[in-house]
Symmetry: C2
Subunit: 210 residues, 2 copies
DNA sequence: AATCTTTAATTTGTATACAGTATACAATTA
DNA sequence: TAATTGTATACTGTATACAAATTAAAGATT
């Protein structure tokens, strides 16, 4: 068993990713390399590398000679992001639908059904798993990478959905999506997935919190 | 007038990009940070940053503690890359076809027609312009970014096409593609674009030089 | 002769010092 | 008082020194 030790840059990157996704580091926050060093007790070199990685993910912006700040896309840009993801994930689903092992879908269905007690928190995990499943089995590693990046990039705006009151309905729609995928009913599955992602946008729109 | 001075990292990045795209830096070549420093007369910090940028583009691979090397994807992976690009660019074309200004297409047509004397070299530029036009007008900045990255990533494998003997035919097909775009004939244009990109793959296949 | 161990050399990962630039604030002038 | 210029501060860009780790080689043991 080989225990992999991540570099300081990698550790800082992962930690910041969590912070940004969970919303603890607010969008628009300006940050200095120095403050990061203090926070993680590392030097500037790995701190800068972590920032560059986050920039690659489209989560942090770099202004030459003027520091770094967490991306705060306009509402319109977030719409574009969701729309982009919707279109590309539909592409992936077309290829993936025949390749996803049934047992994985069944497992997901199980998980979805068994979470009646605490739907808000767990459902995000199931959601991730479903999207990951599609990416994993689309048969194209580049498409997979693109989807993973888009997923990361849109994750800061995902948490808005959890405290929606329409949890029940969303969960039901997910269930039927999985069913249709099991049935290899491509057209219906595509429609459902499309709606599912577009919903993220719609909830955002209703709130107008940006 | 504000004169923008690029950072050393940016300069090195651009230069390396050119080198890789033009094939002067061979795929599979292993390189050390030190050698880059010598070559560009810079220190390791900007050299590393340039390498990280290239890694982001999918052109350079980093093996922790074991150096950097230019990506040498397998034939199968290059196929995947082209296929990914084909699918996503078709998405973009669907959205773009109604937004691309006619005069731009006309200009491209002109350029294509006027290059009968030296078709091999210039045609690449027209090709780039066409793909850029589609990306620019798809109405989604994320999709645009993805396409640009895919374009950069596949550019090292594009030069194989120039010395093909079927230049005439390729040129004709491009012309009809532009025509169909002008006619707003989405279905035909999609088919032609699809073939156009797939052709890159096919030429690669015929050569089996990888 | 082959294999395992240890050691040396090379190269990346990290820390830090220095230089240059941008921003903010103060001072001076119109 | 407003505007412009000068100055100080803070932060990024860059260079370099040091630490850690991997690879390769040399040596010893079976």
């Amino acid at each position: 068993m080989k225990l992999k030790r991540y570099s300081l840059a990698e550790q800082a990157y992962r930690e910041m990713l969590k912070q940004i996704i969970s919303g603890q580091w607010q969008a628009g926050d300006k940050m200095t390399e120095e403050s990061l060093c203090e926070h993680f007790k590392i030097s500037r070199t790995p701190a800068r590398e972590a920032l560059m990685s986050l920039t690659r993910d489209g989560l942090v912006e770099r202004q030459p000679r003027c520091g770094w700040r967490i991306c705060s896309p306009t509402t319109e840009q977030v719409y574009e992001l969701f729309e982009c993801r919707r279109q590309i994930e539909c592409l992936a689903l077309k290829s993936a639908i025949d390749n996803i092992p049934e047992e994985k879908l069944e497992a997901l269905k199980e998980a979805l059904l068994s979470e009646t007690e605490s739907p808000k928190r767990i459902s995000l995990q199931v959601d991730d798993d479903l999207h990951q499943l599609i990416a994993d089995h689309c048969g194209n590693s580049y498409l997979k990478n693109i989807l993973e990046r888009l997923s990361r990039q849109s994750s800061p705006f995902r948490y808005f959905r959890t405290d929606s009151d329409s949890t029940e309905k969303i969960q039901q729609e997910r269930l039927t999506l999985i069913e249709e995928m099991l049935n290899k009913n491509t057209d219906k599955a595509l429609k459902l997935l499309s709606d599912h992602i577009a919903q993220g946008r719609k909830i955002l729109e209703d709130r107008k919190t940006l």
